[in-house]
Amino acid sequence: MRMSSSLLFNIATLSYFAATVVFFAYLASKNRTIGFAGTIASGFGLLVQTVAFFLRWKESYDMGRGHAPLSNLYESVVFFAWTIVLIFLLIDAKYRYRAVGAFVLPFALMAMAWAQLMGDAQKEIQPLVPALQSDWLLYHVITCFLGYAAFAVACGISIMYLIKVKQEDTDGNSPAGGILSLFPSSKILDDLNYRAIMIGFPLLTLGIITGAAWANYAWGSYWSWDPKETWSLIVWFIYAAFLHARITRGWVGKRAAILSIIGFAATIFCYLGVNLLLSGLHSYGGG
């Protein structure tokens, strides 16, 4: 039975790989059809992964362990990839800047590849320990990861911005050639970065609040300065600083892009670093 969902997860991984390659081919070829193919491949992967997600959920019920597949490191890494592709496709549908895919899909691909390379013991559907047996698991994990994913997209866009702005600085105003010609202008990239963070920040806020509500319900304390809680607050502070810095003139462009990349690095530390390197209450995702 379990073969079916893991097979679909493999197909999704291959789709994200194909999408990454196609988006780079789009940058090189400047052929709009190829760009569209990249979006299609991402969408196909997302669809397959969505089916796989629900299938794994069903499989866990068949095993008598019934819970959403959001309970350990493997499942969360896979879900992270799913949310990244989802946020990318939403932004793609709204603004149609396909080149962004080349800098966002690699994050989803890396996450999926890492998850697929984990040992069988880690991929196993495990029963839920008492602390995780709560509906809050669903609300908390979904909001947090959608937030993380929006920050991943913002980070990809910021990397594009830094590359683009370097080229604009050296070439002056002459029409851009080569692989960078399909990059949106630095001004648009700067704005897209801001928009992605505008999506991520409310979701992170909801993620922190649902986490606090859950902690209060399970342990009787909504805030304990546990490393995971503290790091989520650090990430929140960084993006809050980003949003405030936006209002003053000096903090757009390069500084905003760097702050966005730092913010995502902190996000990744909050997600993985805390579990793998520090100790605390939030140890489920580590193994």
Binding site: Y95, P130, A131, S185, P202, G220, A245
Partner: protein, 477 residues
Amino acid sequence: MGRLRTANINQPTYLLISEQVLPGRLPLKNQPSDFGTSLWRFFSSLKLTIFLLIGLAVVSVIGTIIPQGNPPPVEYLQTISQAKFDLYSKLGFFNMYHSWWFVLLLYLLTLNLVACSLRRFPHDWKLINGQVPVLDEQQEKSLANVQSWKVSQSAADLKKSAAEILGRGLTTPVVTKVNDEYHLFAEKGRFSRLGVYILHFSIIIVFIGAMVGSFFGFKGFAQIPEGDSITTASTTTGKVIDLGFAVRCDSFSLTLYDTGAPKEYRSVLSVIENGKTVIDKQPIIVNSPLTYRGITFYQSSYSQDGNPSFHFTVRNRTNGTETQMTATGDQPLALPGGETLTILGFAPDVGSIYPGFSGPAVQVQVQGKGPTAEPFALLQKYPAFNADKGGDYVISFAGADQKWRTGLQVTKDPGVWVVWLGCFLLVSGIFVSFFLSHRRIWIRIGAGRIVVAGSSNKNQAAFRITLDEIVDKLKKI
């Protein structure tokens, strides 16, 4: 806004994020640069906000690397030198998030947030309440989105159609007639300007809730052996809190998955007040606590209360006499023939050791006069298992009695609802200030000429689409 459509953000004019009237550049009331003014300027500056947010992010890392606690864990203390320990203690690193300097940073952030809001508010309040129904030339010049064209119809005819178009495109306009010119004014979402104040105010509410909790609440712990009751809980600082009622632990149970991982910790609790049972045998598990009179009991831990006792049925192979025997803890049991039965181990559920089997099991060893025999396992649910071992006896395991002691987190936090109110306002404030905008559109219809102007404090791209649609329709009249 509701429809998902391709927004073109190619043109730089579409990229304006918010109006360029910004808090950092608002005129100050007292222009002379006296001390009070500079202090006010300092505390209400956005630079201070950014400095504090980044500063808090950076220093917060310390407490996630250095273990927190009073005293900090011994294993950690052994890894650092005395000099380091003294330094860290002095800096409050072992209780960092409550240290004077960290709390000071939080107070400064609050002060900054209040000052910024006070400084900006009068300006926004004017924009919320001060409708400008007439588009005069000065107003026209200050707006970024202005279009005008020649028309042949009469102003009165145009006014009617224009009002309809504006009504459908944004909201029913206010019509004012000035010197034979019609001024149409429609605005939507003016109260969205309050979003940012709700957001900032909500953070103060959360802080107030946290303070209420720390002044009027407590966080304690209690252990209750099965069958016993408690009337007090002790806090982490060692203070003893009188609950005002008694809590009895009727039973505690632990269930495991077939993998050996814990499935459920369950305590059955009763509350007795003034000799009367007010809550009778209510089970609590992790994620499902019990609350009485504002005090909540959370399943937190468990431990063994005293030694377990093990029950056996021992049958003599030759004469068939059966004896019921009970061993306590790791005390060896003397069998009828003088041999001893030693209990080496106990598993509440054997499934993780012997896949396919379930139920409790013991590992035992029978020592007679001869050489030491091999240890073997006895399974309560499978009497035939290892029935051939045990020398002269068929030994079957009839179960174990373990008295447990449940560990409960006992807390009272009257501020928690204030915190949730703050969180609700925080999310609402973020939503309003991020995604709703104050949009205003003016139409002036004069002799042979129509002027359309608009302004939005946020999301220029979407506003331009609305405005362009209205302009298109007006041109088609």
